[in-house]
């Protein structure tokens, strides 16, 4: 299977999201065709600056995708997913905005006639992963963390309030899951970078809740969620619990080595937890 992939700006500098995505996709026979010359989607910034600009930044990829002959764009970042999804929804609903956006892209030498479907990498891997490829991690209890944007507008993967797709996935591929109440609590997202003190408690509450409920490891679906939960574990504020990507757990289940999944890049090491689950 070939998929049209939008990596997003933080993909390459994450704690192994790139390595694990590539390794797992290769193992499953999925070819990631990266949109050539992709740009930043505008994230949570551009819609607050200029709606047309925000839409055009996202839609530049819709035109590039069309030129590649794909009908769908797949991304692994929740913020990119929500931003591209929002632009796609607006363009489908608002004919005037569509024409203005098309004109901007035309001036850049690009053609936009149709809006692709925006999908999350998680959807693709959920379908492609085999049932429990290994029984090795059956007793490793994982706290699933969705973060905020994945199941909220403008895409509906699952119920916004109490999603279960990640737990279902983890159990199916051979892990134990720990129920907890922080699954969609916000980690502070990009505000955590400059409002460190104000946001530290948001991440700390999530980490303590998941750890108190008995999880040994946390898994996330988004570069920023992983980053915030991993880096917040300093001082006495929280216990230490490794924060991984779902692609890293999928890779472990498929028998891939932790290093090939980039797990040596985590701030809180997962080595102990995964060596004797």
């Amino acid at each position: 299977m070939r998929i049209c992939f939008y990596p997003g700006c933080s993909y390459a500098s994450t704690a192994g999201y790139k390595e694990s995505t590539e390794a797992v996709c290769q193992k499953l026979g999925i070819e990631l065709v990266v949109i050539p010359d992709w740009n930043c989607c505008g994230a949570t910034v551009m819609f607050g600056e200029n709606k047309l600009r925000a839409t055009a930044l996202a839609a530049r990829h819709f035109a590039l995708t069309q030129a590649m002959g794909f009908e769908e764009i797949v991304t692994g970042c929740n913020a990119c997913y929500a931003t591209l999804g929002k632009a796609a929804r607006l363009l489908n609903e608002d004919a005037e905005l569509f024409i203005k956006t098309k004109d901007v892209l035309q001036a850049l030498g690009l053609t936009l006639d149709r809006i692709p479907k925006i999908r999350h990498l998680f959807e693709i891997l959920t379908k492609a992963m085999p049932d429990a490829p290994s029984e090795r991690y059956r007793s490793l209890s994982v706290g699933a963390y969705y973060g905020c944007q994945l199941t909220r507008p403008h895409q509906f993967l699952d119920k916004g309030g109490y999603p279960e797709i990640l737990e279902t996935f983890l159990e199916r591929i051979g892990f134990a899951v720990t129920d907890h109440s922080a699954r969609t609590q916000c980690c502070g997202a990009s505000h955590a970078v400059i409002y460190k003190d104000e946001c530290r408690n948001l991440s700390a509450r999530i980490i303590r809740e998941i750890s108190d409920k008995g999880a040994q490891i946390i898994t996330t679906i988004c570069p920023l969620c992983q980053f915030n939960l991993d880096q917040a574990q300093t001082g006495d504020l929280t216990p230490r619990i490794p924060v991984t990507y779902f692609t890293q757990l999928a890779g472990l289940a498929l028998g891939l080595s932790a290093t090939s999944l980039g797990m040596n890049k985590l701030l809180v090491s997962a080595e102990k937890v995964i060596s004797r689950p």
């Binding site: 700006c9 992709w38 910034v45 551009m46 901007v104 505000h191 880096q231």
Partner: protein, 182 residues
């Protein structure tokens, strides 16, 4: 002067009329992860606008603390697009330059936007460096973390970029013009 007779600066927002349906239940504010930092959390901000307190609304720090988590929007019983409204408020406040002076997020957004315009892609350390010119303390606080990232080979040594940044930047110019015309 009678408040109600002041011009409403928010009329250009396409969804603004939806706030008339707000029942002031506070579900949005109660769901908001950063409501404790806001001077008028979403419910209150909508009340201010309905009461014609436009100056207070334009100076509110609330939109700048919105992290776009959409918790309010999925829970609002009247289906008011709270998050989308926060974006629209930011756009208007930026144009009118009424953001509170001590608010850091407008500077962060400006740095972010300037890097996109210049390079097409974001390299976090470059945004931080640009933002840090005005807020050196925040930049310094991130140094211990940056060291850990370097040790794990996670800091981009050079800026990410699209292949032809100059023609990419035209996207910004083109959207600027059509905004001014509007």
């Amino acid at each position: 002067m009678n408040k109600a007779s002041k011009p409403n600066p928010f009329t250009s927002i396409s969804d603004i009329a939806t706030i008339n349906a707000c029942i002031q239940c506070g579900t949005c504010s109660g769901s908001c992860p950063l409501s404790d930092q806001m001077d008028h959390a979403p419910r209150e901000l909508f009340a201010l606008i309905r009461e014609g307190e436009y100056d207070m609304a334009l100076k509110s720090n609330t939109p700048w603390f919105c992290v776009s988590c959409y918790a309010c929007m999925v829970r609002c019983p009247k289906e008011i697009p709270v998050t989308d409204l926060m974006y629209a408020f930011k756009e208007i406040i930026t144009r009118k330059r009424t953001a509170p002076k001590n608010q850091k997020m407008p500077d962060m957004y400006r740095a972010f936007s300037r890097i996109i315009k210049a390079k097409g892609r974001i390299t976090e350390s470059y945004v931080m460096a640009l933002y840090g010119v005005k807020h050196p303390l925040d930049a310094l606080k991130n140094i211990p973390l940056a060291v850990k990232m370097i040790l794990r080979k996670r800091l981009e040594p050079k800026a990410l970029s699209v292949s032809d940044p100059e023609s990419f930047a035209r996207l910004f110019e083109l959207t600027e013009k059509s905004e001014d015309k509007a």
